[in-house]
């Protein structure tokens, strides 16, 4: 072993020891989690789905004393840019006036916690890990020309919460003996395609102890897949097919009705 390598290794050992002494609980508690479905297929009869998220805490030492273990789980759909418009009364009628573009707005976002959110994560940790809905919906650079851009993000969250696309469920994650946890997250019927990310946060006293992250691909399958692909890759053929379908249906209906009458 070269001298440099041995110095580096010794350094690493010291670092691990220091960390181990400073944060005794952290290094020994890890999340192991599973999902009831590791991919979601959108078929023609897809009408929403329920995701069961469960797991356990792996420890090398006894359960540490101090604040109890809490769990926060978030499931996020693919992020997109959206425009939020505000109506204003002008000349007696309501028209869209100001608009704010929000750079990152997940198409779906659900947060489930074991106790009220503020007790699971401190505001600093929330800002760091972007767990709450308010943190997940944001712009990269603050929009210009609007006095109150926050009102627009609030409106987006309000509208999407009403549609069931943004969910905050406090106190629904069941934690057993500070070791096992489980919760259910309902996915709405109007799910968009993409990679969804589930994140599980273990916390103590509002601080994150460990994070587990896994992706859940949401894909159209079968006929849905075929139609979607054709529409995007062969739009002319798709358009002509749609027309042919319309003409055939029109003719068929006419012929059937004439047959019934005669």
């Amino acid at each position: 072993m070269s001298r440099a390598a041995s110095v580096a290794m010794r350094g690493a050992v010291v670092l691990v020891l220091v960390l181990g002494i400073a944060l005794p609980a952290i290094a020994y508690e890890k999340v192991i989690a599973g999902l009831s479905q590791n991919r979601i297929s959108i078929t023609a009869s897809f009408g929403g789905s329920e995701l069961l998220i469960f797991g356990a805490v792996k420890r090398q030492a006894p359960i540490p004393s101090g604040p109890p273990l809490q769990v926060a789980i978030s499931v996020a759909g693919p992020s997109e840019r959206v425009v939020v418009r505000r109506k204003e009364r002008r000349f007696g009628i309501w028209v869209n006036s100001e608009a704010v573009e929000i750079d990152l707005a997940p198409s779906f976002y659900a947060v489930a916690t074991s106790v009220p959110f503020s007790e699971v994560l401190s505001p600093e940790e929330d800002a760091k890990h972007k767990v709450s809905i308010e943190q997940a919906v944001r712009w990269l650079s603050a929009p210009e020309g609007v006095a109150d851009p926050e009102a627009f993000t609030e409106a987006l969250i309000r509208i999407r919460s009403k549609a069931g696309l943004y969910q905050l469920a406090e106190g629904v994650v069941q934690v057993t003996d500070q070791t096992l946890f489980r919760t259910r997250i309902s996915l709405p019927a109007n799910l968009t395609e993409g990679d969804y990310w589930a994140r599980i946060f273990l916390t103590r006293g509002g601080r994150v102890v460990d994070v587990f992250q896994t992706s859940i691909p949401v894909r159209k399958v079968g006929l849905e897949r075929w139609i979607f692909t054709l529409a995007h890759e062969q739009p002319l053929i798709y358009g002509l097919m749609s027309l042919a379908l319309a003409i055939c249906a029109g003719w068929l209906a006419s012929a059937v009705f004439r047959y019934i009458r005669s």
């Binding site: 959108i42 078929t43 023609a44 009869s45 897809f46 009408g47 929403g48 997109e80 840019r81 959206v82 425009v83 939020v84 418009r85 505000r86 109506k87 204003e88 009364r89 007696g92 009628i93 309501w94 028209v95 869209n96 608009a99 627009f152 409106a155 987006l156 309000r158 509208i159 999407r160 019927a189 109007n190 799910l191 968009t192 159209k220 006929l223 849905e224 897949r225 139609i227 979607f228 529409a231 995007h232 739009p235 002319l236 798709y238 358009g239 002509l240 097919m241 749609s242 027309l243 379908l245 319309a246 003409i247 249906a249 029109g250 003719w251 068929l252 209906a253 006419s254 009705f257 004439r258």
Partner: protein, 307 residues
């Protein structure tokens, strides 16, 4: 029973869609309107994204109009010659309308302009038709016949390039029908509808065509204009949802057949009063939406898209 729409990317009830298609189909068959001016707002209401609703609706109108026109062809109530003249104007107008639409979108107030267009045209046409058919009905009831209008001489009859439209019993210049077709094409492209609700009154009141012929001829022209629109949407915006279209079509074609039969039993004046009332109702609803304080002042749209 739910079905997931692959392009609209949401799940909806099949029976609800089927029913909507059916009701609008009945109206389409009865009045010779594509029904887009009713269906498109209804689709918005059940949560279909506007871009998908407009494009798919065009595809559905093709089917219900085709089914309707076949019934009218057998009854010989389609003026093919007039239809083709209107169509030529319609295609020119639609192409121009798409450009106007793109220009309005640049300014950013396209939604408002579309709505104001609806209110203006629906309001004017609805009131005119309502008053006129009410008068006609009253005269018919008191025993007097409405004066025959076939030989009125307006400025439109003094234009050159006269053509015989045998089915309509007209001998007029090609310019008025060409202009009507163009105007309807422009409005159809801007408002995202077939344009029948504008064309039917225009044919009756501007061109002086008999009501019986108007419906079939209007349907004939609508097929081609909406087919053109469907292709444009499919190739530029990828917003035609075949699954949604298929369900609406199935409901629509059946409805259109029923509507055509019903139309044959109703008198022309009654038909016009019903259509006028419906047009006024949609107009009133749209006007109220603009006048009343909305419960939600904010709306969400895709970035760079048409909300």
């Amino acid at each position: 029973m739910q079905v997931y729409l692959p392009i609209a990317e949401l799940s909806v009830n099949v029976l609800l869609l089927f029913g909507l298609g059916g009701v609008v189909g009945v109206l389409s068959g009865m009045f010779g309107v594509g029904g887009g001016f009713l269906m498109t707002p209804l689709l918005f209401f059940i949560g279909i994204p506007p871009a998908v609703a407009v494009a798919t609706e065009a595809n559905q109108i093709v089917a219900s109009s085709f089914s309707g026109v076949l019934a009218h062809l057998r009854r010989r109530t389609v003026d093919l010659r007039m239809g083709i003249v209107l169509l030529v104007g319609g295609l020119i107008g639609a192409a121009a309308g798409v450009q106007v639409f793109a220009a309005l979108r640049e300014i950013g107030q396209v939604d408002l302009l579309v709505k104001l267009c609806y209110i203006l045209f629906l309001g004017i046409i609805g009131s005119l038709m309502f008053v006129e058919s009410l008068n006609a009905l009253r005269k018919a009831r008191s025993g007097q016949r409405a004066p025959a209008r076939r030989h009125r001489h307006l400025w439109v009859h003094k234009l050159p390039l006269k053509m015989k439209f045998r089915t309509s019993g007209l001998y007029i210049s090609v310019f008025p029908p060409l202009c009507v077709g163009m105007l309807v094409g422009v409005l159809a492209a801007i408002m995202g509808v077939g344009g029948g609700f504008i064309m039917v009154p225009a044919m009756i009141y501007l061109l002086g065509m008999p009501t019986k012929v108007v419906v079939g001829t209007s349907l004939f022209q609508i097929i081609f204009v909406t087919a053109f629109t469907t292709l444009m949407h499919a190739t530029t915006n990828y917003t035609v949802d075949m699954m949604l279209a298929l369900i609406l079509i199935l409901g629509g074609v059946i409805g259109a057949q029923i509507g055509t039969r019903l139309g044959a039993y109703l008198r022309a004046e009654q038909l016009r009063i019903l259509l006028a009332l419906m047009v006024l109702a949609v107009c009133g609803k749209l006007a109220l939406d603009l006048l009343l304080t909305p419960t939600e002042l904010y709306s969400v749209g895709a970035a760079g898209g048409h909300a």
